[in-house]
Symmetry: C2
Subunit: 256 residues, 2 copies
């Protein structure tokens, strides 16, 4: 089956079988380590100063996050602060962010920069315009090029669901999976809206368990995080990781 | 005078002398050619399809715009459509867009891509976080690198005023001028707000007539365009160029 046939097959199955089920968040097994390890704690606003970055990294290092997510131009400084702290923390950075409408060659250059400067994971933005134009082969080649140039780094593909029809969400997810991505991610956090549980369920349906789902954009509290997890997200991107883990602490305190 | 002294000098003069004057738009000399030649007619939304692009370019070619502004990944297609039409139209593209927080090396790669693929003008986004951190030398070097790699292309530097204090607007403008940019530009159109006449006047004050000002972001009608021009803008970026030139036609019709 070629790429187009594969997408058509999944879209067909989606139309016949998919039924959105509103999820009920499960807080029974909440603990700090478990929730922390789901989170890419994120600072991507374009007006963040170097001092904002330092405060962000130093504060975040007191929590058990999976990684800190920063833009390429703050990658070196983030690495330095983490190394100086002696603590262990992964770094995620972004490629083609946030609009995704730059040539593959540039996304590959960004990927190489990320590899050379100590990133552990890469969140790349798909070319949304190409996806909506049905230019699937170009997107496949682009994701594949990023994956091939990323060494052993984890690659997540942001499809920016807020601009997509259900069929396009499926196409973007299937292409990402076929091209070797490790995760498909809902949103940049800079589009018209961010993550929602229906989109997560659609993406999970599309990738058939073979790649992870990262939910990001507007995840501001523990309840919504748990909903996203219940819907199928295995990673969460949020700029409010500290507030969420403080909520976890409060929650555990109340149980004692 | 080094860069920091220069900025301090202009900021000092700004504090003593600058007085914002609300402008009254002047429509006495409005004509199609004159207004058209001010406009970079723009399609930068990340979800624009290849068909959206084709319709945009073909329609826009019926009007006397200065240029069409498209993202890097649509540069080749735009060039092709213009060439096929046999008409004469410049192309503007964007670098480091819209967040500006990628390394200089990548902005230079994007600049080279723009040069190699037929762009006439480049609108680059400054590293806003670096500007707000006072890292002026790094920004100077970055703008200079883009200018040096742009051949004979026009370079405009977007300072994204919505995130800046008045002093930062001045610093960004002075640095752009000193680094050899042709224009300083107010906004990407994707920040918290776009152009306003006060920011244009501040930027004009800062560059002392030595580089042009481009106003962009939220310029949706002829009246506001004329206000921006009166305040000192010599170029206008808008996605509503056609609507504005149709307004000009109506305006001239009524006078007959």
């Amino acid at each position: 089956m070629n790429l187009n046939e594969k997408i058509r097959e999944v879209v067909g199955r989606f139309r016949r079988e998919f039924k959105y089920v509103e999820v009920i968040p499960d807080s029974s097994e909440v603990n700090l380590e478990k929730i922390g390890k789901l989170i890419d704690q994120t600072l991507l606003k374009p007006y963040a100063t170097i001092n904002d970055l330092r405060v962000f990294v130093e504060k975040s290092l007191n929590y058990p996050f999976h990684s800190l997510c920063v833009p390429l131009s703050y990658l070196e400084e983030t690495k330095k602060i983490i190394e100086r702290s002696g603590k262990d923390m992964k770094i995620t950075t972004v490629v083609g962010f946030p609009h995704g409408n730059i040539p593959t060659r540039i996304k590959v250059e960004e990927t190489r920069y990320a590899v050379d400067h100590g990133a552990d994971e890469i969140d790349m933005v798909i070319n949304v315009g190409f996806l909506k134009s049905g230019m699937y082969d170009l997107i496949f080649e682009e994701v594949k090029s990023v994956v091939e140039n990323s060494g052993d780094l984890i690659v997540k593909v942001i499809i920016e669901t807020c601009y997509l029809t259900d069929e396009e969400k499926i196409a973007g997810s299937v292409i990402s999976k076929e091209a070797g991505a490790n995760f498909v991610k809902t949103s940049t956090g800079f589009g018209e809206y961010g993550a929602n549980t229906r989109d997560i369920e659609i993406m999970r349906f599309a990738v058939e368990g073979k790649v992870g789902i990262k939910a990001a954009g507007g995840i501001r509290d523990l309840e919504f995080l748990l909903k996203c997890v219940k819907a199928g997200a295995e990673r969460i991107g949020t700029s409010r990781g500290i507030e969420i883990l403080e909520e976890v602490k409060d929650c555990l305190q109340r149980r004692v």
